[in-house]
Subunit: 306 residues, 2 copies
């Protein structure tokens, strides 16, 4: 972040379900400044999206009118303006072509980046927001290959020639929370420091038999019950089991993969790196802020930046 | 039920987590009378297990003292008297040898049937109560083969020479409830009549790719979102997907199985029969009351019945 170091050219907004972030970007696609807020689309009172945006980016709107790009769940049915899903292969040009311009009550012109759909034999998969992160990552030397974006709904994305050609969603994060919070598996769990050995034990169990998940879950109960696992570490075993199961399955889908790019900066992304590495796959990391580079690439493809 | 038709010889109690049932059994192992109550071990105030039992079976205790056998979660850590797990192979004789006698405050002598453990390469599996149902079913011409007991924690049991030789628990029922009640998948669900076509669609998706469950779950969201599935039927698709995934996995474990015995009388057991049949496996049905026959076989093996 180099406040004042270069001329602003664009505002990029990544507006998700539980929070939003905005970036001030210069004409080279570098981030000058960034802000965040807790008003994800589920937390906006009375659909006052425009007011949330004005407050968040108001400090950047003082001199000249900058183009604003917004991506994420903000374009879903429960968001501000619903946009259709774009089909693959999907790069900056197609996303730029399909920007949806909308003028807010206060007069701000917002260009919404639409999400992506994978048809997948009649059982569709969808994303909103991750496509912009991928376009950003693909523009920074991480051009092609397999990308994973850990989270509530983890996305595995295949990129070729800088375009998204396939992707799959795994509900691993949300399944973990539901099992921990609302099944017998959570009753023994306590907050405890991350136990990597136990996590790895879970990853190996998941990778060994990914088709046995509904059975393997019961071991999260029986291992501490028979004193084969510390009660304190039970949540880390469940986390490893789910992530190991996901990775086994996703790596089969991805084919013969030697390297996976992990997008994010959280403790969860650290866990994916550990799990991938013990699966014999090299990893590299991209920051979640790479989304701002995606906004820049799409805005430039759309001719919004000089 | 032939009240008064024959002389009572035994009282069998199946005492689970959420409810309990008791049976009055004659010297041939047939049920003369049965009662049930809602005081499963999680609903007994102040650990007053003896009082619950006295009230439930008091009407049968008027003439002579009958042996009482109790099985189920009542022998777990949260139950009345905790007993160790028995190892396999496990038949009526070993269970009879390992009965745990206990005299309640009111003087009733209760023989607890202990549960079973499968070591399974360091990741143990356990059951309490199902072993008694299996012993009962095995005594009624359904001697050997593969048994499934649908429920919160579904059990798949292998029986040879009338003895339990292996079993696996699948958390399918509890996973269904947690996903329906506490994830985005449940937000579209409404109560609706069972839709067999949609259920079968889910079963097929689960059977096709059991290692892809964490991904396939997302289709429960995307299919109604893209109008490929009626919102009304979404819960039945999820049910089919989970049961199909379980069956694919359990049938691999069971080896080349042509016939499965389904124990139970609920709408859920009907679904397992449908799912097994479309998987090319014949089914036969045993009532849950078969547990009383199990109590009888174990009591006779222990010499408690003349």
């Amino acid at each position: 972040m180099n406040l004042g170091a270069s001329e602003p050219a664009l505002i990029g907004v990544d507006w998700g379900t539980s929070s939003l972030r905005a970036f001030l970007v210069d004409a080279e696609g570098d981030v000058i400044d960034g802000v965040s807020a807790s008003e994800g689309i589920m937390h906006v009172q009375g659909r006052s999206f425009g007011a949330v945006l004005d407050r968040l980016i108001g400090v950047w709107m003082t001199e000249k009118t900058l183009p604003i790009l917004a991506s994420g769940m903000i374009t879903s049915r429960n968001g501000w303006v619903e946009t259709p899903y774009a089909k693959m292969p999907l790069g900056a040009c197609r996303l730029g072509d399909q920007l949806h311009a909308y003028t807010s009550e206060s007069g701000a012109l917002v260009h919404f980046v639409t999400g992506a759909v994978a048809e997948d034999g009649g059982r569709p998969d969808v994303m909103r927001g991750e496509e912009t992160q991928i376009i950003g990552a693909a523009a920074t030397g991480m051009r092609d290959g397999t990308f994973v974006m850990p989270g509530t709904h983890c996305k595995w994305v295949q990129v070729a020639d800088g375009k998204i050609v396939d992707f799959s969603t795994y509900m691993t994060g949300e399944v973990f929370s539901a099992l921990k919070g609302h099944t017998i598996l959570g009753t023994l769990m306590v907050d405890a420091d991350f136990d990597e050995d136990v996590f790895v034990m879970g990853v190996r169990a998941g990778r060994e038999a990914p088709s046995e998940l509904l059975h393997n879950l019961f071991h999260v109960r029986t291992l501490p019950l028979t004193d084969k696992l510390s009660k304190k570490a039970t949540a880390h075993y469940l986390s490893g089991l789910l992530i190991g199961t996901e990775i086994a399955s996703a790596l089969v889908e991805a084919g013969d993969v030697e390297m996976v790019t992990v997008i994010g900066n959280s403790a969860l992304t650290d866990r994916y790196e550990i799990a991938l590495q013990i699966s014999g796959v090299a990893t590299r990391r991209a920051s979640e802020d790479i989304v701002a580079k995606g906004h820049f690439m799409i805005a430039r493809a759309a001719g919004l930046i000089g």
